[in-house]
């Protein structure tokens, strides 16, 4: 037992580049860290979100500007890049939304098991990625 214990790597003052890449996270761990990452993405892109709200809702003219930004770009930024940023936001929102509902469900139910933690994490990841792909295909005009 002590032999085994000795071989286990110890992480103290971890190095973000060397150690984080060797971490093998369980699905619930991925949901957790991606919940955080998606939150940060939306926090930083908040001015872009409000700008979209502004131009889409203010007037007929600004609405056509909003549509044009996605089709023919805005200034030096190509439309495809704006679509890509919007897609990142779509994923971030979907993941944050579903992972948040998972949290709420677990809090209300508070009968949390290891199995449910894993299965609900897999559902969260699958659903958010699948919906992102469906909406992304629509955004890029595949259907």
């Amino acid at each position: 037992m002590s032999e085994l214990a000795k071989k286990r790597p110890e992480f103290r003052n971890i190095n973000a580049f060397k150690d984080l890449t060797t971490y093998r996270l369980p699905p619930a761990g991925w949901v957790s860290i991606l919940h955080r990452a998606s939150g940060v993405i939306m926090f930083l892109l908040m001015p872009f979100i409000i700008w979209m709200f502004d131009v889409s809702v203010s007037s007929e003219i600004s609405f056509s500007k909003f549509k044009a930004a996605f089709n023919s770009g805005l200034g030096f930024v190509p439309g495809a890049f704006i679509k890509l940023v919007a897609l990142a936001l779509i994923w971030a929102y979907l993941h944050h939304f579903i992972a948040g509902l998972r949290h709420l469900y677990m809090d209300v139910n508070h009968a949390v098991s290891k199995e449910f933690g894993k299965s609900s994490a897999l559902v969260t990841l699958t659903l958010s990625i699948a919906l992102t792909l469906v909406l992304g295909a629509k955004l890029f005009g595949l259907y």
Binding site: G39, M42, P47, I50, F53, D54, S56, V57, S58, L104
Partner: protein
């Protein structure tokens, strides 16, 4: 673990209790509800969505009031979220305080801008 409560509590820490945890759930729930209400209005209406329909959704007085509440809920939800991230990853007090101040200015500015857009509809 060193003592971090009473007079020894960390200045850039949180509220050491249930309040923020509960606030995060309530504001999140409200925003989820708003998402569903907004989606329902977009999807259930007839015809393709143009400016009139999109702006019409937000110009209804009850929707304005609800959206206002959601903006405030979002402000507080995001504040708790980024503050927790700073508390996890940023240990030097001065840097953490600087980031917290930046976040507050960023969030309050964004909320003000969003409310301004909403209120001139």
């Amino acid at each position: 673990m060193s003592v971090n409560y009473g007079s020894k509590r960390i200045v850039v820490g949180a509220h050491y209790g249930l309040r923020d945890w509960l606030a995060q759930r309530i504001t999140g729930g409200l925003m989820a509800l708003f998402t569903i209400i907004l989606l329902a209005q977009v999807l259930l209406g007839s015809g393709p969505i143009g400016y009139d329909k999109w702006a019409g959704i937000f110009s209804a007085q009850w929707m304005k009031a609800l959206t206002f509440s959601v903006i405030i809920a979002l402000l507080y939800h995001v504040w708790i979220g980024v503050r927790d991230i700073f508390m996890d990853y940023v240990k030097p007090v001065g840097l953490r305080l600087t980031l917290q101040i930046f976040s507050i200015v960023w969030l309050v500015s964004c909320a003000g801008w969003a409310i301004q857009i909403l209120w001139r509809l």
